[in-house]
Symmetry: C3
């Protein structure tokens, strides 16, 4: 008996001579046809036609499989959780829009007569930017628009490679210099609304313009930077900004697991003498506090650069964490000016009531992800002290801060801090004890 | 007769003992093999080998199906039309780059001597920003860069939930306060290039910093806000900005369908007395008009806050729409200052020549999508009046505007407005009748 | 013998009466079943059941195929290499985040006494923006934040169509005017860190606000623009900025292939007399050079507009390229002021050591993609001269620049330039020969 459907003839013509993939012989149909042919159930002629039809079926099925593979193989990887990231299928190109919004409502009780009170709100940080990578190269640009202008944060071109099995990264442009722990940990991850007084100031500057190199192994990281002042109007000049050299290292001497570890760090920073001036000044209880703790000023030819050392330690023990940092800073006076010494330290401790742990990444704080859909709760406290010896005002201040943090989800947080200055001595004049109640709502992406 | 291809042996070894999905038995091949075995056409031994091969085929086909399901299940939802939105597959995370460009070419005929003429262009709005959501939380940051700096618009962290079956939304940060219709409708959707005089000014302020709460049902929305002045330099202070409380509600008493409905709204706003000053001033015929309609100023201790009420109505009847809003505002003078009353209303009507309808969303105007690939055409007219009683200049002005809108596509529009002031009385001095011809090209995303 | 599995009964009930796609008959199973039935190996009853089962199998396989087609058909096209672009599946909507970071480290040796030296860094360009298209319409907004504010670059709404087989594009807003080659080529693609003195200045302005139209064929492009001054604070005014008309054309008289061609271009620009002033001034050896080459100033009623012509030629011969541009500019003085003539030209040549070629796109330089994973190397040199005849200082300057460019990847580049002024005459006073060593790291997306 002979089978003569046109579909089979077409299939035979199309696929009979085609070289089919190896696994095309594996299908049950081919085997069954062979069995039926070999035992004479079907004729050899019908076998050929049916075998061709079977091959055509197989090819059609395989083309769908190839389509699926092509789609999945060439499809960019798109991350939508925790961060937004578009990445080429081979991982060589990536792109990330980045940003953060932090809105504060603050009540500062500055003194008894109310002159130095502040009751209001502040858009503390409102940052937009883009980061990306192109093979071993990368870029980042982020500016803060909270004040109504563009305050440039990161703005660099970067390169990464391997050096003796370790990771080497180089940044050309403006980025964090290689000094300090509290200043170099992102504001997105700080335990409290405000950094300690000594951080984010000349005693521990944040970002400057120049070259930063990082070398890191499994449990250590060393960094050096050679920079000039930050890019206030896009430009720095060695003659007016001086040059800053900084170096920092941190390592993890003890690590039981990801949530039980100790990290120790230290660094040194020296700024050339051609800086046009130095003075230390920071708001006392809150970023909006009209009262500041501040030093005298050394200007022009009287200023001979400055030196600072920093030491820091972090311990994470499950839901508990402790952190301490010391900053010893000297601005060198010459001619008619004497030195200004600024000695500071801060100690903080926190505890997650809901079982989460603080996280370190590349030596600094990173983000916390709540374990439960109802969010994470953390309580924390910090003591900080700064002593200014400038042979003029000689201010000293101590401050306690207690904080309650609620993380509704990853990337969002509500914060409530109460800060009170327990000692504020300025050239022998003892003031009241200013305090501030501070609330923040924040989100980042 | 015995079948001994290695492919079958391998398949048998691999899949013979495997637990296959329930539907693996449904295929025709398995059934055919059973039939052939049961009637003795093939041996039991060959049946086993062929059945294993068939199962292997089935598994391969199912793995492709699973691949496809995995791809479609985990693939972020990406919206490219009308807006740009990247959303996680489960919808819990979303991210949107947002922005708008509005470029105006304007000719103002201010008076007879030409001193107050303006013939030029303006980048009226140039906004960039990001919005996103993380489960029930969200964030938005958008700034306007048209003036060469960053004028902060929305900057908040938000939370949404259900309350007694209704939608409750809370915003912490800077956002629209709960007052006014014309001011709260986005500039992307305005019928004319410029808002009425009273909107977007102290008589109906736009965004302030604080807390805004919205509760909405199917055909109603109520909102309240407790805020301070807008974030000019990122900061507001109760002592200099005062505190504003506002409340607004709107409901739809009549709705036949989406394009035949009436909405009524009203609101109240009160600002604390510590605002440092009040005066009303707005450009007369266009944003670039050198001439303004303006009031006297109440400053410092003479200013005792202000109060305002607003009433508004919208009717959409197919391609026709009408809208009216009343704004009654009083700035309270004390000591040596008398009150400043600013009474305003505007009435507009429009008609789509191409069959589209105006659209309301959450109580305010939303975007129009042309029905035809050749775009949508709309004609419209507005009358507005503002009467200032400040016991000084007592200005009053009436203005007619006629407009022609062309929407080439969703998200783009060309606008042509002609505005003419029919009455402008300032302390008894009657000026000429200034007019302006205004063109806008706009796109948003 | 009768087959009675429930799976087959269900399949029969579900699919027996269904209209299956035409190719559903092509499968080998259907054919085999027919053969077996026709020759009596299986009963007609079993045939029906098995045929239904086979159809069900086929349908299941086809639904997977349809799923795959749906996914691939509706999936936005996402470009991650060279640029970031999200495009709707039908191509009618597209969206691109854009930006560039250029960081310079510069040492200027201004004169012998060191007063005019500069040793420092500059964030030369830091741009963020978005571009998109909606059917035939489009938009672009990009601002430069390097200086700490938002310097608006492109900000327009655009429209494109076909005109007699050629491409017509219209831009409403701020964009490049139709004049000049070096100024209109993007800073991303410049051979050297700095444009020649005459480019990016009043003698060859960059972006202005108005209307720009482009018409282009296969090997030619003509453009005209009618604009006012650039959007310094978002606004331009005809009365203070004047109106500029410009026209430019370029064509390719010789083209062997993509990397062997010659392009010739020329243009004319005239600015109305109501510009409030004119003076020419540009940094001498580098953007940070304190010394400038500059003209006298014509102000107010003495200024009667200006006229300029430009001529340019580009030759690409494999890895070698040469480019020359002439700019002849006259600012017309009247009343008490005489004309200011600024005559300039520049000639550059470059060679890729690694085999790449310079690329033209729409008449201007475009991006270079390295052939090798280890990057591309290019050497280049430029001579430029500017002669100012202002009947006052009559400055003239010549400068040589040599440059070394390393392109690690597409979209990234490291640049090293050395510029030295060989002649700088200012009203007969011969100064020293200032020079500058300039390094740039850049990335764009």
């Amino acid at each position: 008996m002979k089978l003569k459907t046109s579909s089979l003839l077409i299939a035979g013509a199309l696929f009979g001579a085609a070289v089919l993939p190896a696994q095309a012989n594996n299908d049950a149909m081919m085997d069954l046809l062979k069995v039926l042919r070999d035992q004479g159930t079907i004729t050899a002629e019908n076998y050929d036609l049916l075998a061709n039809a079977s091959k055509a079926d197989k090819e059609a099925a395989e083309s769908v499989k190839v389509d699926v593979e092509n789609v999945t193989k060439t499809m960019p990887k798109i991350t939508t959780e925790g961060k937004i990231k578009i990445e080429s299928a081979d991982g060589n190109w990536s792109f990330q829009p980045i940003g953060r919004v932090m809105w504060d409502a603050v009540s500062v009780d500055g003194d008894d007569n109310g002159v130095n009170d502040f009751d209001g709100t502040e858009l503390r940080r409102a940052r937009l930017g883009f980061a990306g990578s192109i093979y071993d190269w990368g870029y980042k640009f982020e500016a803060d628009f909270a004040g109504g202008d563009a305050s440039i944060k990161d703005a660099y071109v970067s390169y990464k490679t391997k050096l003796a099995g370790n990771k080497l990264g180089i940044k050309l442009g403006q980025s964090q210099i290689a000094f300090g722990f509290n200043i170099a940990s992102s504001s997105k991850y700080m335990t409290f609304l405000d950094r300690p007084w000594y951080a984010d100031k000349d005693t521990s500057p944040a970002r400057q313009s120049g070259v930063v190199a990082n070398l890191s192994g499994k449990s250590w990281i060393v960094a050096t930077s050679l920079t000039q002042g930050s890019l206030k109007a896009g430009t720095t000049d060695e003659h007016t900004n001086g040059t800053t050299f900084a170096a920092r290292g941190s390592f993890i001497p003890f690590q039981q697991d990801k949530t039980h570890l100790v990290q120790l760090g230290g660094g040194y920073m020296t700024t050339g003498g051609s800086d046009n001036s130095f003075s230390f000044s920071n708001h006392l209880t809150a970023h909006e506090d009209p009262i500041s703790i501040k030093s005298a000023t050394i200007s022009g030819a009287n200023y001979d650069g400055s030196d600072a050392i920093g030491l820091d330690a972090v311990a994470i023990l499950g839901s508990f964490h402790a952190m301490a940092e010391y900053n010893g800073f000297t601005a060198n006076g010459q001619n008619t000016a004497s030195d200004i010494d600024v000695d500071s330290f801060s100690v903080e401790a926190g505890y997650f009531l809901t079982g989460e742990s603080m996280k370190l990444k590349n030596g600094f704080w990173s983000g916390v992800k709540p374990k439960s859909p109802s969010g994470a709760w953390q309580i924390a406290t910090r003591f900080e002290t700064t002593e200014i010896d400038d042979n003029a005002n000689n201010q000293e201040a101590d401050m306690w801060t207690v904080g309650l943090n609620y993380y509704p989800t990853a990337n969002t947080r509500l914060m409530l801090d109460y800060s009170t200055v327990t000692s504020f001595e300025s050239a022998g004049i003892s003031q009241n004890e200013p305090s501030a109640l501070k609330f923040r709502a924040q989100a980042y992406w």
